[in-house]
Point group: C2
Chain length 225, copies 2
């Protein structure tokens, strides 16, 4: 069973080149080509390919928008590999958010393109080396920071860390007392102790500290409505 592909690029020559390279592989079959985003969506619906090779810059509808649309509306497992001439941050992040499984530059050698397609078809993900580097750096920075500041968390007792976690959720003393089944006076004692130990002024700074130290992480819950 071969990998079924749709190639999308507004330049027919480029499109044809990719299609030819891929079509020559015994396990890959190019089932359609498209010249812009709208056509891409149409071809995707019609042929239900395993992988879509998508250019970013295109007339009518660009590759990112088309990717979002296809991923959001597809009722079969489809994976998108983004092709770009440059690698500006903005595009990459938008592409990943759109649900792309990969982001490679057009200057890669044919055999790497082929293996990229196979990787993506198998459920993996693939980024251009320079992009991977940035992603790693972003990630590593965050981790390094976590460990640096979190050492100060060790000064706190177990109970204090619990209270700090509640503060980091935006709860007031009363809510914390109810949640931890203790009196508000006790909560105040803990809070004071936390602020003193960490050299903070008020609970707002405590929230900042919790996020900076990694005790709290974006994505846990919702505030307000």
């Amino acid at each position: 069973m071969s990998i079924r592909i749709v190639v999308v690029d507004d330049q027919a020559l480029v499109r044809g080149g990719f299609a030819m390279v891929l079509g020559h592989q015994s396990d890959i079959e190019v089932v359609a080509e498209a010249g812009d985003g709208l056509e891409a969506i149409e071809m995707a619906q019609t042929h239900r390919p395993d992988v879509i090779l998508m250019d970013i810059r295109m007339p009518a509808m660009d590759g990112l928008e088309a990717t979002s649309h296809i991923i959001a509306n597809a009722d079969w497992p489809v994976r998108v590999l983004i092709l770009s001439t440059f690698d500006p941050d903005e595009y990459v992040y938008k592409a990943l958010r759109a649900g792309a499984s990969g982001f490679v530059l057009k200057d890669i050698p044919p055999e790497q393109l082929v293996s990229a397609v196979r990787t993506v078809a198998e459920g993996g993900a693939l980024l251009a080396p320079s992009i991977t580097l940035r992603l790693i750096e972003r990630f590593a920075d965050q981790l390094a920071l976590d460990t640096k500041v979190s050492s100060r968390l060790e000064r706190l007792t177990h109970r204090e860390r619990e209270v700090l976690a509640e503060i980091a959720h935006g709860h007031n003393n009363n809510e914390i007392s109810e949640k931890l089944f203790i009196g508000t006076a006790t909560v105040k004692t803990h809070v004071s102790s936390i602020l003193t130990k960490l050299g903070l002024r008020d609970r707002a700074q405590a929230v900042v500290f919790a996020y900076e130290s990694g005790l709290a992480e974006p994505g846990d819950y919702d505030i307000g409505h």
Copy 2:
């Protein structure tokens, strides 16, 4: 000028295999081999290679520790490519934090190992497809969240967003007034407006919102001392 490499693995057979594959390339030269972390540090110091191919599981000192040590103390540009049999999350994150430029599984075909080494030597980064996928997912989740909540940020005026950013730094009304060159009364007006518009109760919740919405991000500065 060829790429100078040190191969580190406790299994002589595996080490020899990698060394042979790489050594056959005209642009790659294996200058040393090491059987454990301590030896790796020694060889790195002695031969000052461009790239170190590092196994994780090793006696005496494991690859992660050795990587940390080498990266931290090297006075020349050295890059480490981690080799692992499995891909547990824990290892990957530790490796990235240690400063590794890549993380590949041992089952990759020889030609991909060679190109991985070249990529890393050129300053790029490379991860195994399955790991890249996880990294992307982690990242995409975060972004999706950002945009979801940040739509509420649009209700705020420009000035209010500035004030919110200051709140997210843990500053009190007085500090904000000094920083933005306005009166404290004005700051209070803005703060009230922010809390009302976002459905929040106090500035601690505002800090939470700032981090959850992506207006503030871990890593900006330090609180306390």
